[in-house]
Symmetry: C2
Subunit: 209 residues, 2 copies
């Protein structure tokens, strides 16, 4: 198929497809002439996937490229690759390293140790979490921390279910795709459900006194 059909099949405008090709989110088609190329089902799939990461997952173009590259290049024989792809999905930030930050970092380390989680020191989620906790400290929302355990418990249970489902997949490419989609879109699903449950709970507790 050529670019018009690729666009029709995915709903992505042609100029955007060209942009994604330029940016390396989608591999080039097979050239058949000076201004002709063929795209296949793999391109359709890859394009949908890229769009999902950007639109639903909120990844930047650069992060999406990196995540996709890592998942679908190295053959995924090593666990490292999965980890690195996940790392690529956590956007880098700058951190204010004050007292609140030091305490938050210690708190994250403590939590990980307490849970017995095997997590590399380089996992960027450590810093993101520390940053969020430091912010809560600076806002004097310290009672928030009572909830941290229940959040961690929740995350653990989710991860168990998720890993189990992913592991059921047959081929490696399928696992790779699931991991990428999962990580990015799962955040949004979870956040939405939390909003809905919150509305329900606050309506029950405060709405009908």
């Amino acid at each position: 198929m050529r670019i018009a059909e690729l666009s029709r099949r995915t709903g992505v405008p042609i100029p955007t497809i060209k942009y994604y090709l330029r940016e390396g989110l989608v591999p080039a088609g097979e050239r058949t002439g000076p201004n002709q190329a063929q795209y296949g089902e793999a391109h359709v799939k890859r394009l949908k996937l890229a769009r999902a990461l950007v639109e639903i997952g909120g990844l930047s173009i650069a992060s999406a490229r990196e995540a996709l590259r890592l998942m679908f290049s190295a053959g995924l024989s090593e666990l490292d690759t999965i980890g690195k792809a996940q790392y690529a999905m956590t956007p880098a930030r700058e951190y204010v390293e004050d007292e609140a930050w030091d305490e938050a970092v210690a708190e994250v380390d403590e939590l990980i140790a307490k849970r017995g989680w095997q997590v590399k020191a380089t996992n960027p989620a450590r810093r993101t979490l520390a940053d969020a906790l430091a912010t809560l400290r600076r806002l004097d929302q310290d009672d928030y921390f009572e909830l941290l355990d229940s959040y961690a418990e929740t995350a653990e249970r989710l991860a168990d279910t998720e890993i189990e489902t992913v592991a059921r997949r047959g081929d490696l490419d399928s696992v790779a795709e699931a991991v990428v989609v999962w990580t990015a879109v799962g955040d949004t699903v979870l956040a939405s459900l939390r909003r809905l449950a919150q509305e329900d709970r606050s309506t029950r507790l405060l709405g009908n006194p």
Copy 2:
């Protein structure tokens, strides 16, 4: 205090504070002369809060302003106000209304009914969730849906704990602040913890065979 101290106390650069004042994220100081104004502790708090929403919560300036305005203007006597502030924190998107979308919307309605959640039809999280689910359908990640229940269960349990903690607060302003912080920063905390738990679980399952 004047703007320099406000900047020192919060770590926010002066030009950014001026920008936030212009954009209405922070109320104006008390004027004492043609080019002088006084700021107080309330301004410090509000500025930190605004920063947290923007930096950690990832809200746009416009969303942050709307959320803050709703929480701290109307007196919060009505439950509606809390709901509206939460709604303001869910960014609007455009939706592709195809077959996958229709099915996803039905699925969301079904889930809410099944759970017995009391959620207004106008809650934007409904659409965000439907959008995410529709994306999963379009990516043929249908087995994802087996997990939806466990996600919902999780969200419900979280909301229970959260609501309970917020309700313990004394004054209304404190509740308002907690709700805003909670909603925005909680997403990040949860997402980070999920990443960490995922690394642990995949290491255990696949890493040491």
